[in-house]
């Protein structure tokens, strides 16, 4: 049964139909969690004893940074699946993820910079965490540029998958940069689950925002993937029929 499900999902036509049903639900879930996260994060949570209200930037900065790495792993994973099993839909998911990943990386860098100014006294330092995250942005931009530079989309997808896989080496560097090097960036406070050094009133909105971002990514990547499916399948009967109905 599972085999059958995956086989069907790999068919572009079936994917287009199912994703069309999923998108509004994922979008609604994401919107609800965003509202909850904003309310608990901006209104309910108390100011930080050291950083005052400036720490509230965390509720977008941290989820955006998590997403920048999560989406990269999805992109590299989908790319590898496309490379090995030649599944068209995996290639489509990989390239659709790249643009969104680049936007989230940009968001993490910019909000970090805006948070850094009042707290560190500078918009930017070349420290390990910031530099490796900037390299992540360049990796995403490289993937997008490479994909657009090659006309044959299947060849392009293969080239992109290899570049994405090589870049995976950067992900643990970002994650451990605050432990391996002396950085201005603070160490982890959430991922040490034995005793997270963040108060529950701040952890809850942070997690709400993190899940909101995940659901947001899920529906936006499906929207992009649907465009890519239409583009690649433009000569098939079902796409033509769909185009003429709208």
């Amino acid at each position: 049964m599972f085999n059958n499900f995956f086989h069907k999902m790999a068919s572009p036509k079936y994917f287009y139909r199912i994703s069309g049903i999923l998108i509004p639900w994922l979008a609604a879930g994401s919107a609800l969690l965003f509202l909850a996260g904003l309310y608990y994060g901006l209104v309910k949570a108390p100011p930080d004893y050291q950083q005052g209200d400036s720490y509230r930037i965390m509720f977008i900065h941290v989820p955006a940074a998590w997403m920048s790495m999560f989406i990269y792993m999805v992109m590299a994973g989908a790319g590898a699946i496309g490379l090995i099993w030649r599944i068209k839909l995996a290639e489509i998911m990989a390239i659709s993820s790249a643009t969104i990943g680049a936007w989230f990386t940009f968001l993490a860098l910019v909000t970090g910079s805006i948070w850094g100014k009042p707290m560190w006294g500078t918009w930017w330092v070349w420290d390990a965490r910031l530099t490796s995250e900037l390299i992540l942005l360049f990796l995403y931009l490289g993937v997008i540029a490479l994909y657009n530079a090659i006309d044959d989309k299947r060849t392009a997808a293969r080239a992109v998958a290899i570049l994405a896989l090589v870049g995976v080496v950067n992900i643990p560097i970002i994650h451990y940069s605050v432990e391996w090097w002396n950085t201005l960036h603070q160490g982890p406070t959430v991922t040490k689950f034995d005793k997270p050094s963040i108060h529950l009133s701040m952890l809850i909105p942070l997690l709400q925002m993190a899940v909101a971002f995940k659901l947001y990514y899920a529906f936006v990547v499906l929207m992009r993937a649907r465009c890519e499916v239409l583009e690649r399948e433009r000569n098939t009967g079902w796409v033509r029929e769909l185009a003429e109905k709208t």
């Binding site: 400036s54 909000t111 947001y216 929207m223 649907r226 185009a243 003429e244």
Partner: protein, 57 residues
Amino acid sequence: MNLNEFFHMGGYAFYVWTSYGIALFVLLINVILPILQRKKILGRIARAARRTRRNTA
């Protein structure tokens, strides 16, 4: 807490609201772009289909 205090953000209003503003922009643009792109692609495919039908008729 009153509304003024809320918008003031303990003196960090500029930093906090700029960050949230940019986040809103990024979240909106990533929804709007694929919607526009889908319309554009479908329009292009429909025009191409009409053209080939006319040429073969």
